[in-house]
Structure formats: structure tokens, C-alpha cells
């Protein structure tokens, strides 16, 4: 076993010889990287591909995040609506009405929110509670693949892919059961700190 592991490490080291320091880039490291950022604002554009509709659905708006648990998605186009999560409370404002819900009373919703929050806060333990996760790439360009474990969420969401650069999350793709997809591109706003993406070798 040990030999096998060693072999694999060698192969990986060879494969990433251009950037040998990132050979072992894994979830804990990604999480450490992400945890550095305590808050942030960003703009997003989203395209959703739904079977049966003629053409994709476009949306855009802003995202903001405040560690440890506050997340706001504000859609500005095609119509204004806000989804805000803080702690265990989800507040939806759309069509002039505000609704408040307890997140943990809806496990499938909780899973999705935790995927976002866990990624943004670098909380690997939470992510692994709800998803099977796979990290690939390097600190300079990483992707985190999440497959839901909860059967209820798995009945709706097939997989999620979060991608980014250093401590910035730049993309979120979701694939739903039934074949619909959504792709979100995120552009960090001015609020994001301009820390160098590079890392010193361990």
C-alpha cells in the first residue's frame, strides 16, 4: 500500500513537474487558502440551460459574503430579487414580498448553501459532511467538484463544480438531475484584497 502511494506521488510529481510545489494540492490546502478571505463582493453572470426552453436563461447581479455565515445573492437582471442567508435563516425577497425560512428545515437547501459557505469560508469539514469532494488543479487555478451525499439533494442536483484562482472563487457550475445546467461566472469586485496568488514552497 505504502509503496503504491509513493508511486502515485511520484507520478503526480512528474506530471506537475512544471510547478512541483502544487503536486499535492488537496482539499485542506484549498480550504486554508480560501479561509484567508473573510469577506468579499463580486459581480456575477449566470446562464442556465433548461431543456424545453428555446435558448438559455440569463441573469446577472452581485454576490457578497461575510464570514462566517452571511451570504447574499442579489439578482439585478432580468428582475430584482434577493436571497440572503445568515446563520440558519434564509430570507427571500422577490416580487415585493419577503419570506423567511429556517434553513435546516429544508435539508436540500441547506446542502446547497453549505456548499457555497463552506467553500467561501474554507470549511472543509462542513463540505465533507454534505458532499464527496474532489480537488484538482493548483492554487493558481483550482476546481472543486462536489457530489451530494444526501439523498434528497442528490435527487435534484447531480454535481457542482466550483472553480477559482487562489482565494477567489470565479465560477460555479451545477448540473441537475434531468439534464438542466447552470453556469455562473464570478468577477471579484473592488472589495477583494489584492494579496498575491503565489505561495512560497512548503
Amino acid at each position: 500500500m505504502r509503496l503504491d502511494w509513493l508511486c502515485r506521488a511520484c507520478v503526480l510529481a512528474l506530471a506537475f513537474c512544471a510547478v512541483p510545489a502544487w503536486a499535492a494540492f488537496d482539499l485542506p490546502e484549498l480550504m486554508t487558502l480560501l479561509a484567508k478571505q473573510k469577506s468579499g463582493e463580486a459581480r456575477f453572470t449566470e446562464q442556465r440551460f433548461v431543456h424545453g426552453l428555446e435558448g438559455p436563461l440569463d441573469a446577472s447581479g452581485t454576490l457578497s459574503f461575510d464570514a462566517p455565515d452571511k451570504l447574499v445573492r442579489r439578482t439585478l437582471s432580468p428582475r430584482i430579487e434577493t436571497m440572503a442567508v445568515e446563520g440558519n435563516t434564509l430570507t427571500l425577497s422577490r416580487g415585493g414580498r419577503t419570506r423567511t425560512l429556517a434553513l435546516d428545515s429544508m435539508p436540500e437547501l441547506l446542502g446547497l448553501v453549505e456548499a457555497m459557505r463552506g467553500t467561501l469560508t474554507g470549511d472543509g469539514a462542513t463540505l465533507q459532511r454534505y458532499f464527496r469532494s474532489t480537488v484538482s488543479g493548483s492554487a493558481a487555478k483550482w476546481t472543486l467538484d462536489l457530489v451530494p451525499m444526501d439523498s434528497r439533494l442528490a435527487a435534484q442536483v447531480r454535481s457542482m463544480r466550483i472553480s477559482g484562482r487562489a482565494s477567489d472563487v470565479l465560477g460555479l457550475e451545477m448540473e441537475f438531475v434531468g439534464g438542466d445546467r447552470s453556469v455562473m461566472n464570478i468577477t471579484p469586485g473592488n472589495a477583494a484584497p489584492s494579496s498575491a496568488p503565489g505561495r512560497t514552497t512548503p
Partner: protein
């Protein structure tokens, strides 16, 4: 009835008539009792003439959802076990038809309700307003629906896209999701604080129907047993709480405690009487007046009120325990007649007037309770008066027939008499120290003032602390919002009540926007008033207009108008739908919501309940301000109203007790016709009351209404002693046997109330703790303050 007769025992004809009449009365009483319903609901402690809010509260307590809600916890075991038990129990409970609503977080069975909502969406959705179906409105609404596609919710919405592109069904569904709900795990509700699955259920039977509540509770237990069979030692435990559990528990507890007290009290009193008379026959005779009193008292309450409250039985019997005194007086005082069989005549002439006066003072005291505005107290008053009068009459007419010369045996009474003699001789020396003590006690009581009377309604609850804590724990788990503030709307008919509810809901919406509330639940979400439904249907355009608007709205959209034929058809069909009415909804899948949130008021008309989910910024003052000006809408703060009720109850009881005491004094004054004698009789009673209160103050006991009733009892019972000492003083006869009868009577009273004092039921123990020491004090003080009645030493051998 023949009053005067020549010497000798009553003739056989008279005996037969008296005994027959007595037995007949007892039989009638027994028949009435056999047909009597024993109640134990809270309503007996609520006023008969409440204000508007109190009436609303009482309706809620009697039959509202709060009184019918059971909370279940399934604790321990593994998550899977808890979830499995929760599902199995819920399934069984739903099948039993004993419950309106069984919620365990399982959302599997909403398909039927969903189909109904879909069919009636244009009547129910708040989104159906005239602007909604213009080209612009349609565009906006369709965009809103499309924004849900390509999200995890998309697969739920997609099948209805062609029929409901404006998303009315979602809009209704979103409104129906409660703003605060327990955590969900494995598809069922779980506590956030502990490994515990949670359920709530509303019984179909009214909260005041305790038999039906008991059946529902038994069903829950049976369902739990069935669900955990085979799980062995690791099976999760069942925790059950809520008002139905409390009511049934209280009734059972009162019942067993009453029986327990009656048995133990009977044995102890029997032992005392046996010691005193050394005659089983005397023992049986001594109990006859008590038994007569209980039967007649219960029957009278049943005839006057239609039912008997458990508490009335429970401690009414103790209240008239003093009737055993009548028998004791008779059995002892009728002794020693010169001619055999004439003892009863001497007793009738010499002692009966005193007993009669004692009876009248007691009746005066209890009459105060009859006129109280609280059925619970009034029942006690009627019970006591009827019981006392019946017992006194039995003593006066039945005992002479059975024991013309009193009891024959002497038993231990000789020693009792000697002790009584010693006490009567010795106590007057303590007059001044006792008086000083009384003044000190009075000062203490006055100094403590209102603080002394600080017991609250909770102190009267027979529900044990552990059960109250369990209730609070489950309530917190579930996030039950029914403990605090309710909004109730009402009207003369269903539609008026619904319109008023809609008016209140419109104002609550503003509070939701401001974050004061996170949400609320109202019946108008599934049953809008006909006016609102008609307005919604009227805002649906005809087919041609809709087609044109839709074509314009969907221009450039990924959802072509050509797909939306089913939408056009549904709108056209909706325009012809008759309004949804209560009867239709009641039989349907959403009937449980209706039954929970809407009710027929006992006094006529309809009421609806709006359940609030308060937010962090919630303020009751602002809620009341927001709803101000809506006359048929009330904000009811259950805790505050109950506290208010109790204060009113206490205040009223004070007035009643004072009036009762005043009536006693007036009666004594009329009979005694002497200020001096009146003072002599009242003095020991007053001191007994003050000393008892002082003792309670010293022990830092929190006093409540039942202590107050206890004080009245001290006066009622004590007046007998004081009057006897008055009689002894005026007649100059102070034989030790009479003193012994007083002492024995007092002993039985103190013992029976002493037993009550250690009862688990707070209502009973608070009375016992006041009366037991108070009655003893009343006797001792009567002896202490009585002058020149001490028998000469060895007056009788």
C-alpha cells in the same frame, strides 16, 4: 315534622318516616350523581363575565388549537430509528382519524393538497391582481417563474410551466411553508438541541372533552408501542406533552389523590373516633352526616351547574369534613340523660342551637363563594352549603333515631377530657403573650402587604414541575409560537370573520416587511373571503385579451406563447369556478389547516386564529398599534391575560371572603345580641387568622387564592369552637365531656386538613396548610380568651 314529643326515644312511626325520607333523599342524590359528568378543564377557573380578550382566550383554552395540541418527542436510539418511529407513529395517528393534523416533518403526502391548490390557484393566490395579466405583468411574472428554472427547485416547477407560467401555485405554496420549523433530518423533524425526533398533532376532539383526549393520548402510546416493537433496549423513548396531556393528567391525579385522601383520612378519623368512643356502632353513626353531606353536595352541584369539576369533589369533601364534628358533638353531648332515650331531647334543646348557629356562620362564609364570578369557586360554595345543611339535618333528625342517647362507649375520652380540662384552665394565663404575638403577626402581615399574596396561577397547577419542563423543552424544539401572542379575528358569520382576518393580514404583511415578524399563518391563505375570491376571478381577462397580452409578453422570451395553451384553458376554466367555501375545504386535503385556524364561537359567530412567528425585532406594542382600529381583531397575550385573570380572581376572592366574614359577624351579632359576646366570639377567630398569616409570612410562603379560601374556612370552623365557649360561659356548664367533644372535633379537623397539607396537588395543600394550624389555633385561642368557663377540678368523676 313533629317537633315536640313526650320523653323517651322517638316513636317507631317517626323513626320509619325519618329514615325513609333520609334514604329517599340519599337515593335521589345517588341517581343524580350517577348521571353526572365529572369535568377537569381549566374553564372552571375562568370568569363567567370576561371582557373581549378574555373571552377570546377562554375560547382558545376550551376548544382552540392551543388546548388540542399534543407535542411528541422521540428520544434516543439512532437517527434512523427515530425517523422510522416518527413515521410509523404519524402514519398510525393519521389513520386513527382522532387527529385533525399530524405533523412530523414528512412532506410526502402533499400531492393531493397540491392538486387542489393548483385547481383553485386563481382564487387563492395573492398574486392575482388586475395588473398581473397585462402584457407587462405577465412578462414580469413569467420571468419570475423562469428564474426558478435551472435551480434545484426547477424540477418541481417544470411540469406545471405550461399551465401556470405566472407561478401562482408556488406563490401559494411558499405562503403555506411556515417561517420557523424544526430541523429536518432523514425526512422528519428533529430537535436542534438533542437527539430527538419531533411531532405535533391536534386532536379532533375539543380540549374540554377529556375522555376523548384520553383516548387520543392512549392511541399515541399504542402507536409508539407498535412502532418500537422489536427494537429492544435501544428503542427510542416517547415523550408526550401539551395541554391535553396536562388536562388528563390533572384529572387522573385529582381523582386518585381525592380517593387516596378519602381513604387515608377515613382510616385516621375512624381510628380517632374508635379511640374516643370504643364503639364501631358510634363510628358508623359518626360518618353518616359526612356521607350525607358529600352525596347531597355533589348532587346539588350537578343540578345547579350541570357537571361537577374534579376539584370540587376533590376538596369539597374536605371542606365539609367539619360535618363529622356535628356527629361528635351529638354523640357526646346527648349522653348522660336521666331517663333512657331522652338524651337527644336535651341535646336538641341545649346544644342544637349552637350547632345551628355554627352551621349558619359556615353557610354565610361559603355563600360568599357562590356569588363569586368564577364557576370553580361557585361550585365549591354550592357544594359546601348543600353538604353542610344536609349533614346538619342528618345530625338533627337521623342521629336521634339511630342513637337516642348518643354514644355509649367512653374509650380514651376520659384522658382527652382531662387534657381538655387542663388546657382550658391553663390557657387563659397565656392570654396576654398570645395577644402580643397576634399583634406582632398583624404587624408582619401588614408590613409584607401585597408581597405576601404573590403566588401566581402556575402555583395552582397540579402539573408537576418535571412535566412543565418537558413541555417547555419540546415547545422550544418545535419553535411553537402558540405560547406567546395570538391574533384572533372574528365576525358574525364566516365571511365577516374571513374579511376581518384579511384586514388584519394586510397589516401584518407590513410588519413582515419591517422584520418584526418572520411570518404568520392564517386560514385566509387557503380560504379567502368570497369578496377577495370574486375580485381575483374578476381580474382574470377573457381568452382573447389574454392571448394578445401573452403574445406580447413572451416576445423574445425562451418560453414561446404557443406552448401556453393549457394556461389559457385553465384561466378560462377558473373564470367559471364557484368561490371556495368552508364546507368544501373542510372535507378536502387542507381541512386540517381550516380546523386548526378557524372555529365556531360558542356564543355564535366565527373566529379565526392568526399564528405569529415573531422576528428578532418583534414588539408587542407595535403589533397592537399596527392592528389598532380593527374592531373585530384582538391581540391576545396568553401569559398576560392569564396573569390578569388571576389578579382579577384574587381580587374578587378577597372581596368575597371579606363579605363572607362580614356576614358571619352580622349573623353572630344578631344571634348574640351583645357587643361584648360578639367581641368575645370574634376575638379568637381574628387572632387565629392573623397568627396563621403571620406564620405563613414568617415561612416566606407565597400565598394565593386558595390560601384565602383556607382563611375563610378557619373562620367557618373556628366559629363553632368560639360559640361553644360562649355557650359554656353563659350557661355556666363546662363539663369535661363537652370540652372533650370540642377537642375530638378539633383533632379530626386538624388531622384531615393536615393530610391535605401534604398532598401533591398544590390547590389542596395550600388549603390544608392554612386550615390545619388555623383550626388548632382557633380552638386554643377560644379557650385562652374565654374567661371563667374552666370547670372546677374534678367536677365530674
Amino acid at each position: 315534622m313533629p317537633q315536640q314529643q313526650a320523653g323517651g326515644p322517638p316513636g317507631w312511626r317517626r323513626r320509619a318516616v325519618v329514615l325513609l325520607a333520609w334514604l329517599l333523599v340519599l337515593l335521589c342524590g345517588a341517581v343524580v350523581i350517577a348521571r353526572t359528568q365529572i369535568g377537569a378543564d381549566l374553564s372552571a377557573f375562568l370568569p363567567k363575565s370576561p371582557d373581549v380578550r378574555q373571552r377570546v382566550l377562554i375560547e382558545q383554552l376550551q376548544s382552540g388549537v392551543a388546548s388540542r395540541t399534543l407535542m411528541l418527542g422521540i428520544e434516543g436510539g439512532s437517527t434512523e430509528q427515530r425517523a422510522a418511529v416518527s413515521r410509523a407513529v404519524a402514519k398510525d395517528m393519521r389513520e386513527s382519524k382522532l387527529f385533525d393534523l399530524v405533523q412530523n416533518g414528512d412532506v410526502g403526502d402533499w400531492s393531493e393538497a397540491g392538486a387542489w391548490v393548483l385547481q383553485h390557484r386563481y382564487q387563492l393566490s395573492p398574486g392575482v391582481v388586475p395588473g398581473q395579466f397585462t402584457a407587462e405583468g405577465l412578462r414580469d411574472a413569467i420571468n419570475e417563474t423562469l428564474s426558478m428554472l435551472g435551480t434545484p427547485a426547477g424540477n418541481v416547477i417544470k411540469p406545471f410551466l405550461d399551465r401556470d407560467p405566472t407561478g401562482e401555485t408556488q406563490r401559494i405554496a411558499m405562503e403555506l411553508v411556515p417561517a420557523s420549523a424544526p430541523r429536518s433530518e432523514d425526512g422528519v423533524w428533529m430537535s436542534r438541541a438533542a437527539p430527538r425526533a419531533l411531532m405535533i398533532a391536534t386532536t379532533r376532539a375539543a380540549g374540554s372533552d377529556l375522555d376523548a383526549q384520553a383516548v387520543a393520548i392512549a392511541r399515541v402510546h399504542a402507536a409508539y408501542e407498535a412502532a418500537t416493537r422489536g427494537m429492544g433496549a435501544t428503542a427510542p423513548k416517547l415523550l408526550l406533552s401539551g395541554p391535553p396531556v396536562f388536562s388528563v393528567m390533572s384529572r387522573d391525579k385529582i381523582k386518585t389523590e381525592a380517593i387516596h385522601l378519602a381513604v387515608v383520612g377515613g382510616i385516621v378519623m375512624g381510628g380517632l373516633l374508635l379511640l374516643a368512643f370504643a364503639s364501631p356502632r358510634a363510628l358508623v353513626i359518626a360518618f353518616l352526616p359526612v356521607a350525607t353531606g358529600v352525596v347531597i353536595g355533589t348532587a346539588s352541584v350537578s343540578l345547579v351547574f350541570g357537571s361537577v369539576h374534579g376539584l370540587t369533589l376533590g376538596f369539597g369533601s374536605t371542606l365539609i369534613g367539619e360535618t363529622v364534628d356535628y356527629a361528635i358533638y351529638y354523640l357526646i353531648q346527648a349522653r348522660g340523660a336521666a331517663v333512657a332515650g331522652t338524651g337527644w331531647q336535651r341535646w336538641r334543646d341545649l346544644n342544637w342551637p349552637t350547632v345551628r348557629l355554627g352551621l349558619l356562620t359556615s353557610v354565610c362564609g361559603f355563600a360568599a363563594l357562590v356569588f363569586s364570578g368564577f364557576p370553580g369557586l361557585a361550585q365549591l360554595g354550592v357544594f359546601s352549603i348543600a353538604g353542610l345543611v344536609a349533614a346538619a339535618l342528618a345530625t338533627r333528625y337521623v342521629l336521634p333515631v339511630l342513637a337516642p342517647d348518643g354514644a355509649t362507649g367512653m374509650g380514651m375520652r376520659r384522658y382527652m377530657a382531662q387534657m381538655a380540662g387542663a388546657l382550658v384552665r391553663g390557657l387563659p394565663r397565656l392570654r396576654w403573650p398570645l395577644a402580643a404575638l397576634g399583634v406582632a403577626a398583624l404587624a408582619l402581615v401588614l408590613w409584607q402587604g401585597g408581597h405576601l399574596w404573590r403566588a401566581d396561577l402556575g402555583a395552582m397547577s397540579p402539573v408537576p414541575k418535571a412535566a412543565q419542563q418537558l413541555d417547555e423543552m419540546l415547545r422550544n424544539d418545535i419553535g411553537a409560537s402558540d405560547g406567546g401572542v395570538l391574533v384572533v379575528a372574528y365576525g358574525d358569520d364566516e365571511q365577516a370573520a374571513l374579511r376581518n382576518t384579511e384586514a388584519a393580514a394586510a397589516r401584518l404583511d407590513a410588519l413582515v416587511e419591517q422584520g418584526e415578524l418572520v411570518g404568520y399563518e392564517t386560514v385566509t391563505r387557503v380560504l379567502p373571503s368570497v369578496a377577495v375570491q370574486t375580485a381575483r376571478i374578476a381580474s382574470l381577462p377573457n381568452a382573447e385579451t389574454l392571448r394578445a397580452n401573452l403574445a406580447e409578453a413572451t416576445k423574445g422570451m425562451p418560453l414561446p406563447a404557443s406552448r401556453l395553451g393549457p394556461f389559457l384553458a385553465d384561466i378560462e376554466a377558473a373564470r367559471k369556478l364557484p368561490p371556495v367555501e368552508r364546507a368544501e375545504l373542510a372535507g378536502g386535503p387542507l381541512g386540517s389547516i381550516l380546523n386548526t385556524l378557524m372555529y365556531q364561537r360558542p356564543g355564535g359567530g366565527w373566529g379565526t386564529l392568526v399564528v405569529l412567528h415573531p422576528g428578532a425585532k418583534f414588539d408587542q406594542g407595535r403589533l397592537e398599534a399596527a392592528l389598532a382600529g380593527l374592531p373585530e381583531v384582538q391581540v391576545v397575550d396568553v401569559g398576560r391575560e392569564l396573569a390578569g385573570l388571576y389578579q382579577r380572581y384574587l381580587h374578587e376572592a378577597f372581596v368575597q371572603v371579606l363579605l363572607g366574614a362580614l356576614a358571619v359577624v352580622v349573623l353572630l351579632g344578631i344571634y348574640l345580641r351583645s357587643w361584648r359576646r360578639l367581641l368575645a366570639v370574634c376575638q379568637p377567630l381574628l387572632f387565629a387568622v392573623v397568627l396563621t398569616l403571620g406564620g405563613m409570612a414568617l415561612l416566606q410562603a407565597a400565598l394565593g387564592i386558595l390560601h384565602l379560601v383556607g382563611l375563610l374556612l378557619i373562620v367557618a370552623v373556628g366559629s363553632n369552637y368560639a360559640l361553644f365557649f360562649d355557650q359554656l360561659r353563659t350557661t355556666g356548664r363546662a363539663d369535661e365531656d363537652t370540652l372533650a367533644s370540642l377537642m375530638l372535633a378539633n383533632l379530626t379537623t386538624v388531622v384531615s386538613f393536615g393530610l391535605i397539607a401534604i398532598s401533591d396537588i398544590p390547590a389542596l395543600s395550600s388549603i390544608g396548610r392554612v386550615v390545619a394550624p388555623g383550626a388548632l389555633l382557633a380552638l386554643l385561642l377560644s379557650a385562652a380568651f374565654a374567661r371563667s368557663v374552666a370547670p372546677a377540678k374534678a367536677a365530674r368523676p
